[in-house]
Chain length 344, copies 2
């Protein structure tokens, strides 16, 4: 395999693939291994049931998921708009929104792959509810999970966040346009077409069940970046049927187990959902959209050596050190049983 | 100041500005402070004069800068091209290139702000030479420096890298187009116009001398992100006059001193140069381009707490926790004398 570039048709960006680079010696930064011994309850952890958060609010004795407003939101419901400037070099616009946090489970030591399938299903149902609720008012509801210290997560209690905004953020806005253009030209949604072809090729598909496909996209940037897509054409997470939600819980448990088994560590990543926009867009035709989740895990070589997206990547374009096919092969080879539960 | 979004006309992207977020408590990852006691010579450091690199090659007893081919290049001079695929979802293309490393100085303990102005000038002359040499063959010559462990730098000996490529990478290719469109419409290069306006406003200009301006761009993403631009319209680094190069060495020493003084630590960052493309583009009109350097430093609150560009930033759009004006104010307030030299 020789260096080459590959194209991401959703983002209209190229990635540089340098398969031989994995061989170089690494003397750079070594991350602290993610904390392994997290107690199921910690009186000092602001996300545990019954504890007081830094805002002074007290958490209920929650028994399933627990959703609340972020005490330090990046976006606020209202406020003054910046004054308009006609100069194209100094453009600003108002930004309103809502920021929420959802704990997945009352126990701090239970990450998604260690939760039961019905508990994961509860998280999925909550995601659907959030998207519906905040989607009534906001154009874009970004559900995401930052997992692990290395991904800027500041609390080990398993949780995700939601930032809903009045504006359409850069990346999904671009995907809105590229999927629309593809649909107009080919009369089929880009990602529906893509999954069909990946299922034929089988080179990058890692897991599938009746309703879902988990694969390493052809244009992946992060070493073990993946995408999770429904087999049916689905616009938004709340449109999933009950059977599709159960199947999603099943494949999520399996894929996250594979991730954890990679380096026998609770695998850090940022993940999130992209589906058709909401707010005013609920009134429009969004048939060009296909719902999907994205996983961006930073680890490259071991539990402590990550890929740095720095100099060249920040200034020119992303570069990766193994091919998408090599990553898929590696993920396929990993056991489906979680390393922590092997002897239990 | 309330949350709002701002537009980057070079990249056609918005950034979310949430000025009030700096107040939130931080319990997340704390970086190891950058190594402060670096010996001027280390027999085990592969970049020091006279030492043997992991490839087995031996460094000369260099006395100024030292340029060599990267022993583990991400791009190779030649190789087979990937087979063409007509499917728009599976596009790849050949990628050829050259990767080089340049040590700034024989001493490992002398970073750019601690070097003399004439030593910095030597680095600038070398950058100009590299851009001319590799530019004869390659479309894009990306000169960049990853400084600090936290920026994936794997060797504390002060050095930069060059990745030159046959392809035009995403970010500069986009800036090629946006600057062209602005020039066609306004008959003046975007960044020449921008600097003129910033010099009038003085809200985001931190430093200037006869030939250069250092500022926090209106659309900055990283907490203390800055741009360094010539006052004259200049296409490429090799087009700088001798007086402009001296003035560049002067302002580089000053700006890097301010950066180091921020948290009294050798300030980590990725930086690099963007100028008119080369290779076949040398034969074309590139009057819409303006040379500039970009500095992307990750630290946010202290020597050990950085800004994480994760979840929301990876999936939706970049978000910052202070305004560009607040960052400029802070940088202006910092002393011009390096904290390490204050008592010497
Ligand atoms: O080439 P180096 O210094 O070993 O590697 C560093 O810079 C490269 C270019 O920005 C990145 O791709 C690597 O992830 C980073 O660790
Ligand atoms: O909101 P948190 O978890 O405190 O913060 C984390 O996620 C945010 C959204 O991706 C980022 O902007 C922050 O840099 C990161 O530390």
């Amino acid at each position: 395999e020789h260096p080459h570039i590959r194209y991401n048709p959703l983002m209209e960006e190229w990635v540089t693939v340098s398969p031989h680079r994995m061989k170089r010696p690494w003397k750079g930064q070594v991350e602290k291994s993610e904390e392994e011994e997290i107690p199921s309850y910690d009186p000092n952890n602001s996300l545990c049931p019954g504890n007081t958060r830094s805002s002074g609010k007290v958490n209920p004795q929650y028994e399933g998921t627990f959703l609340f407003d972020n005490d330090f939101p990046a976006l606020l419901k209202d406020g003054p708009a910046p004054s308009a400037n006609p100069d194209p070099l100094f453009q600003s616009a108002p930004a309103y929104g809502a920021c929420q946090v959802m704990c997945f489970h009352p126990r701090s030591d239970l990450t998604l792959p260690l939760m039961s399938q019905s508990e994961v299903r509860e998280v999925i149902d909550k995601w659907a509810e959030i998207n519906t609720d905040l989607g009534k008012k906001y154009t874009w509801v970004q559900i995401f999970e930052n997992k692990g210290n290395v991904m800027g997560c500041s609390n080990p209690h398993p949780h995700c966040q939601v930032w809903a905004s009045s504006y359409f953020p850069n990346d999904p806005a671009k995907k809105h346009r590229t999927q629309r253009e593809y649909y107009d030209k080919h009369k089929v949604p880009l990602l529906v077409d893509y999954v069909k072809k990946e299922l034929q090729k089988q080179e990058r598909v890692v897991l599938q069940n009746e309703h879902w496909v988990w694969l390493v996209p052809y244009w992946a940037i992060w070493p073990y970046e993946t995408m999770l897509l429904p087999k049916r054409h689905v616009l938004r997470i709340e449109d999933l049927t009950s059977a599709e939600r159960d199947a999603l819980a099943d494949i999520m448990k399996k894929l996250l187990t594979k991730y954890d088994n990679m380096f026998e560590v609770s695998f850090p990543y940022s993940m999130g959902w992209h589906g058709a926009p909401t707010g005013d867009y609920l009134q429009q035709d969004n048939s060009h959209w296909q719902l999907h989740a994205l996983y961006f895990p930073p680890l490259l070589r071991s539990a402590t050596v990550k890929k740095f997206m720095v100099g060249y990547e920040m200034l020119a374009q992303s570069q990766r050190d193994l091919t998408a096919e090599q990553a898929a092969e590696k993920l396929k080879s990993l056991p489906d049983v979680h390393y922590k539960s092997q002897n239990s």
